[in-house]
């Protein structure tokens, strides 16, 4: 989007960036930025994992070479290591990330071949559901904890059932909502925050998942989960 943004700025059009642009918004002379902090999303996931007693985690990255996804995995591994544990990133073939059968077979094989692994983080809710099912198939529900970044109703429903530990929410609704507010306040009143705003991560676990699920039923678009 950089050329279009530069073009807009050169014509005097005000720009607010949301979701992506954390590293470049000031340079592009955008008025403000709101988005997730990818490293923090992974880090919070790792902290939650170690708080639940997990010591050896695998982060499944289904889009290798995407810097944002890599940062999420780095954050997860770093948090586990900080708590005295260890972790690794495992690459999934992107074209197979929608193939539930393959994702499950892969996760089962990882659990069979790495007996010490007791934590899994996925970077998408569908993958998280597949990973949790694979853990159950491998008979390791008691020892292995699964968490995911981003939400789906099914993934959230697995939290109270005890099959999923947590889901990390980047709260896309806030990005859209505050993105528009930021633009309006900047154009009408000349207001703008001085730093990038973080819309996430929000940790959703057994403590607050019921609220999220009930909001999802009443206002389907607000949580961004389906």
């Amino acid at each position: 989007m950089t050329p279009q943004i530069k073009d807009a700025r050169s014509k005097g059009i005000e720009v607010v960036l949301y979701n992506s642009g954390r590293t470049s918004w000031k340079e592009l002379r955008a008025a403000a930025f709101i988005g997730k902090e990818p490293y923090q999303m992974g880090f919070v996931a790792g902290q939650s994992a170690s708080a639940n007693g997990l010591t050896n985690g695998i982060c499944l990255n289904q889009v290798p070479a995407n810097p944002v996804l890599q940062l999420r995995c780095d954050g997860y591994v770093a948090a586990l290591k900080e708590a005295g544990g260890t972790g690794n990133t495992v690459i999934l073939k992107s074209e197979d990330s929608n193939n539930s059968q393959k994702v499950r077979a892969t996760v089962r094989s990882l659990l069979l071949s790495n007996a010490d692994v007791n934590g899994i983080l996925t970077l998408g809710a569908g993958l998280g559901v597949d990973a949790a099912e694979a853990v159950a198939d491998a008979g390791k529900s008691d020892s292995v904890g699964v968490g995911t970044i981003d939400l789906s109703t099914k993934a959230l429903e697995m939290i109270p059932e005890g099959r999923m530990l947590f889901a990390i929410d980047q709260q896309p609704f806030l990005q859209g909502h505050y993105g528009l507010l930021l633009a309006q306040q900047h154009v009408d009143f000349g207001l703008a925050p001085s730093n990038a705003l973080n819309s996430g991560p929000l940790l959703i676990d057994a403590k607050n998942v019921e609220k999220v699920l009930s909001v999802g039923k009443e206002f389907p678009s607000v949580r961004g989960a389906n």
Binding site: N99, S100, Q101, K102, D137
Partner: protein
């Protein structure tokens, strides 16, 4: 003499390559469970879903044509079943029939486009793949507001499509049935001879009175229906429809057929060979995770093993043919 007869079978190279690949992972991943029941189920399940589509794709490639639209048909069929049962509240049989009808239609459209435009089917069906994927995404978002939708358990359909024993899904049995039918058609019916004739020399076949376009139309409908079948099956297995799922099948089906000894230019191949081709692909993509080797290398590794498997297949076939002429 007996061995030589065996070696002359078109599937023998793929069979030996499959044995080699299995031994490779049994050595390097056996200690981690590759040969265990669960490990075997893992690669066999994925090979089965690939194989249900790859077997008719193999027939179509023997007849000299490609179908790269199957990936989108898988996703479209899965979202059709999910939307019709969970969002529109229809009985699951209705969703299944609509999805199968969609598979038939895509096959008919593919055949008609290839026939009328004379554009290579590689391009035509790649285009259909995009059109079907885009349509499935747009329609599902118009109807349900989302491109993925979970669906409830499906009663009798669960027994038919998602039953499993010790982690082995019923899809393996469906794969065996689909392969048996295809093998019978290819070897023992006039239609099977027409497939070879059309792929070997299209014009000569036409002059000899083979209904070339009827053969291709039937094969396109066959691949479309098979892809829809897999989409229906995965939706019911995993209680979820996903309009953009299945894209992995676009090239993996053709790859499995070629590993199994089907000639890219048509006219040569066997169903049993394709079956072994699917097993090889399944073992290679899943087996790597049993070795414990760094997964950053996985793509390079899968690619290298595929080339080796195809080369082994070719060498064995050439040896067989040479020893034949020397006699």
């Amino acid at each position: 003499m007996h061995l030589r007869l065996l070696a002359r079978q078109t599937w023998f190279g793929a069979f030996l390559a499959a044995i080699l690949v299995f031994c490779f992972f049994a050595v390097f991943g056996g200690a981690n469970g590759f040969v265990s029941l669960g490990g075997t189920a893992g690669w066999l399940n994925t090979a089965a879903e690939l194989g249900i589509i790859a077997v008719p794709i193999g027939l179509l490639m023997i007849a000299g044509e490609f179908d790269l639209s199957t990936g989108s048909v898988v996703g479209a069929a899965s979202i059709i079943v999910a939307i019709s049962t969970s969002f529109l509240g229809m009985p699951v049989i209705v969703g299944i029939l609509i999805a199968l009808a969609m598979g038939v239609s895509v096959g008919l459209v593919n055949a008609a486009l290839v026939h009328k435009t004379r554009v290579p089917s590689f391009i035509v069906t790649l285009a259909t793949n995009f059109v079907v994927a885009g349509t499935a995404l747009a329609v599902s978002r118009i109807i349900s507001g989302s491109s993925t939708l979970s669906m409830p358990d499906a009663g009798w359909a669960d027994a038919v499509f998602s039953a499993r024993w010790n982690q082995m899904y019923i899809s393996i049995i469906w794969w065996a049935i689909a392969s048996a039918i295809a093998a019978w058609v290819l070897r023992s019916t006039p239609f099977g001879s027409w497939i070879f004739a059309v792929g070997g020399n299209n014009d000569a076949a036409q002059r000899a009175g083979v209904p070339v376009w009827r053969v291709k139309r039937v094969l396109y409908v066959w691949t479309g229906v098979s892809a829809a079948f897999v989409g229906i099956m995965t939706a019911i297995q995993f209680n979820q429809g996903n309009a953009v799922a299945g894209q992995g099948y676009v090239f993996q089906t053709a790859i499995a057929a070629v590993i199994g000894g089907v000639l890219l230019t048509g006219g040569f191949g066997s169903v049993i060979g394709v079956v072994f081709g699917c097993m090889i692909y399944g073992m290679i993509t899943i087996g790597l995770f049993y070795t414990g080797w760094p997964t950053d290398w996985s793509q390079a590794f899968i690619g290298s093993l595929l080339v080796l498997a195809v080369l082994a297949n070719n060498v064995i076939r050439d040896l067989a043919l040479k020893s034949d002429t020397a006699e």
